[in-house]
């Protein structure tokens, strides 16, 4: 299909004996928010650098906006915005001056540049501090300035390397929502990398999971969950009243219910139960509870989050995966 905006063909990067990226085949559709997930040192940054032409692949090739970043780096960089991991700015200049420099480097005419700078600052909410020196900015402000720096180019693709690193959870969430919104509004394709999975799962359309240079899974989060947890019981949390023996046995006797345990003590009210179902028989369970004279106060199917999926992949993976997981503290460089 010719529609992909980013495509790689057996993209490989070796540093001596170490294979940082191993035969990566990636396809990203226009307008998509794609998450590149994996522990530090899994090859995410290297992949990004190859997509931008900042390093050359050892083998294979990449295609960004239909161009080869190794051969035509300038044409690619005109259409791709990049927010590096731990972005830096010229501290002695103001936020606006930093953006102005980027605009000049992109060859934007002055009035157009000023207009775009104003708009980008507005979008990331930095208008009020735009004329303060970057040295006075907080980590979150720098990160948002970095995003403004990307938006200013009005790129077709934005590549964000660890955009939430170093932000507190609230700021990170806010930042991701902002990215999501900007992507939706502007039709911008976003490729973001992260090792913080639960943060990212809410904003990504699709994710690719990287372990030791290989992408071991790729797809929508619910699809991945279905793959990983195939054949495992569904977990349902239910709260009933009264928590009488009659009600409990009614639940246990429902066909398809494998197990019904009271939730661990201290975890909410006494009537809270954790059920394991072989298949989705939630309706039947509710009917039986009501039939036994009980009331259902709360019922929730626990969905699998990315962290679980991710951990599962590690457990299922070979020794390399475990080694990579142990090396989480290693810096990305």
């Amino acid at each position: 299909m010719a529609g992909e905006i980013i495509r790689t063909y057996d993209l490989t990067k070796r540093y001596g004996d170490l294979t940082a990226v191993d035969s990566l085949n990636l396809e990203i559709q226009p307008g998509e928010v794609f998450g590149l997930l994996g522990p530090n040192g899994a090859g995410k940054t290297t992949t990004i650098l190859m997509l931008l032409g900042l390093t050359e692949p050892t083998a294979g090739r990449a295609e960004v906006c239909g161009l080869d970043p190794t051969r035509e780096p300038l044409a690619v960089k005109r259409q791709v915005g990049y927010l590096p991991d731990n972005v830096g700015f010229y501290d002695e200049l103001t936020g606006r001056q930093n953006l102005r420099y980027t605009a000049e480097l992109n060859g934007l005419p002055r009035e157009e540049a000023e207009r775009r700078i104003e708009a980008a600052l507005e979008q990331v909410g930095l208008t009020a501090v735009a004329d303060r020196k970057v040295a006075t900015y907080s980590r979150g402000m720098r990160q948002r300035l970095g995003l403004a720096d990307v938006l200013l180019k009005q790129p077709r693709v934005a590549i964000l390397d660890e955009p939430t690193l170093g932000l507190d959870p609230e700021a990170a969430q806010e930042f991701l929502v902002l990215i999501r919104r900007l992507s939706r509004e502007g039709g911008m394709t976003v490729l973001l990398s992260s090792h913080l999975l639960n943060q990212v799962q809410a904003v990504c359309d699709r994710v690719g999971i990287f372990v030791a240079g290989r992408m071991i899974a790729c797809g929508r989060i619910d699809e991945l969950a279905a793959q990983v947890f195939a054949g495992e019981p569904l977990q349902v949390e239910v709260e009933v009243e009264p928590a009488s023996e009659a009600v409990l046995s009614a639940i246990r006797q429902t066909p398809g219910v494998r197990e019904a345990q009271p939730a661990a003590p201290g975890e909410g009210p006494a009537g809270r139960l954790r059920l394991l179902l072989d298949r989705d028989v939630r309706g039947e369970v509710v009917r039986r509870i009501v039939g036994a004279g009980g009331t259902v106060l709360h019922l929730q199917l626990r969905s699998h989050n990315l962290d679980e999926i991710y951990r599962r992949y590690f457990r299922g993976g070979d020794g390399d995966g475990a080694a990579a997981a142990a090396g989480v503290a290693r810096p990305a460089g």
Partner: protein, 347 residues
């Protein structure tokens, strides 16, 4: 009233016509600039502009300018006083104005010695963190993710440095010359002014060499401190130890110290150092009585008339020196180019 003889609208018309003309010229200039930009690496203009602005507002540059100004004025004052009292005696030799820059009464070295000593420091100081600094501030990957050629970063920084140094040295040279004029009271001749200009340009070239070396070091070393230290090491090596080393080597090769061969080899060995090249070039430029560099035989000197060289001949004499410095600059630049162009840039 005389003013009203000419109606106001006529003035405005003339102004409009001038405006139009200026505009056309501006248009032509703009087109020409666009054409030149077409074959320059993309992004060179903005980078050079920013770096230049950074340099001239930096503390680093300020300190160096202050240092050069203070030493320059001090040496100027001392020599100026000495020349003033001896002007009558010096009159026959001519070139009194140039003596402001080269003469010394023994208490303080002359202006050229100060400049020659501080010029490498200037080049090193402006360039030692050119690339490593961007890397440490984590701005390099963001910079290179813009649609610019990589060499634009190197060339832009180099051009900005040379521009800043050129402007500064020109201003300093003019200021010292002007003060000297006041102190000594002998106006410079056209020849002397040309020589002065050539001296300043040679110094800019010399600084450019050290700047290119500093940029190379900043590409090689990731830490700015290492790069600065390496630069200073190289500078000290050439400034202080090269001559000693050359003496040793020549002594080992040709033990006969009186022979012509000894003197020749010694001269050529010495000229491998940029410091020697610069010193010889400056001496030739500012002392027109210097007619030969290197060893000279007695029989060659016999019967030679005492006289001075015209500036063209002086320049011819130091052309190899200038070429040498230029070659050194180009080599440093090429090396940093090769190293930087294919390097992987990680944040």
């Amino acid at each position: 009233m005389a003013l009203q003889l000419r109606p106001a609208w006529l003035g405005r018309l003339a102004e409009a016509r001038r405006e139009l003309k200026r505009h056309a010229a501006g248009e032509r200039l703009a087109r020409w600039v666009r054409e030149v930009q077409g074959w320059l690496p993309a992004g060179l203009g903005p980078i050079a502009r920013k770096e230049f602005a950074d340099l001239i507002t930096s503390w680093r540059m300020g300190i160096l300018v202050a240092l050069l100004t203070v030493t320059g004025i001090a040496s100027l004052y001392v020599t100026g006083m000495a020349i003033r009292s001896a002007a009558g005696v010096l009159e026959d030799e001519g070139y009194i104005f140039l003596k402001i820059f080269t003469a010394s009464d023994g208490r303080l070295p002359p202006f050229t010695a100060f400049v020659g000593f501080l010029a490498p420091l200037l080049g090193l100081a402006l360039g030692f963190d050119a690339i490593s600094g961007e890397q440490n501030r984590r701005t390099l990957s963001r910079l290179l993710a813009q649609p610019i050629h990589r060499d634009a970063v190197l060339v832009g920084k180099f051009v900005a440095g040379v521009g800043a140094v050129g402007a500064m040295l020109l201003a300093l040279g003019m200021a010292v010359g002007g003060l000297g004029l006041i102190l000594v009271g002998v106006p410079p001749t056209g020849d002397e002014l040309l020589r002065l200009l050539a001296f300043i340009l040679t110094t800019v070239l010399y600084v450019a060499f050290w700047l290119a070396l500093a940029i190379l070091l900043s590409v090689v070393f990731r830490h700015s401190a290492t790069s600065a230290l390496a630069g200073i090491g190289i500078w000290l090596f050439f400034a202080a130890f090269w001559d000693l080393l050359a003496d040793l080597v020549v002594g080992a090769m040709i033990p006969d110290t009186g022979s012509l061969r000894h003197a020749q080899v010694r001269t050529w060995l010495g000229r491998l150092s940029p410091v020697t090249l610069y010193t010889e070039a400056v001496v030739t430029l500012l002392t027109p009585t210097v007619r030969v560099l290197g060893p000279i035989l007695l029989e060659q000197a016999i019967g030679a008339l005492k006289g001075t060289l015209p500036i063209g001949q002086s320049l011819l004499l130091i052309l190899p020196h200038l070429t040498g410095m230029l070659a050194g600059t180009v080599v440093c630049f090429a090396a940093s180019y090769v190293l930087f162009m294919r390097r992987e840039i990680r944040a």
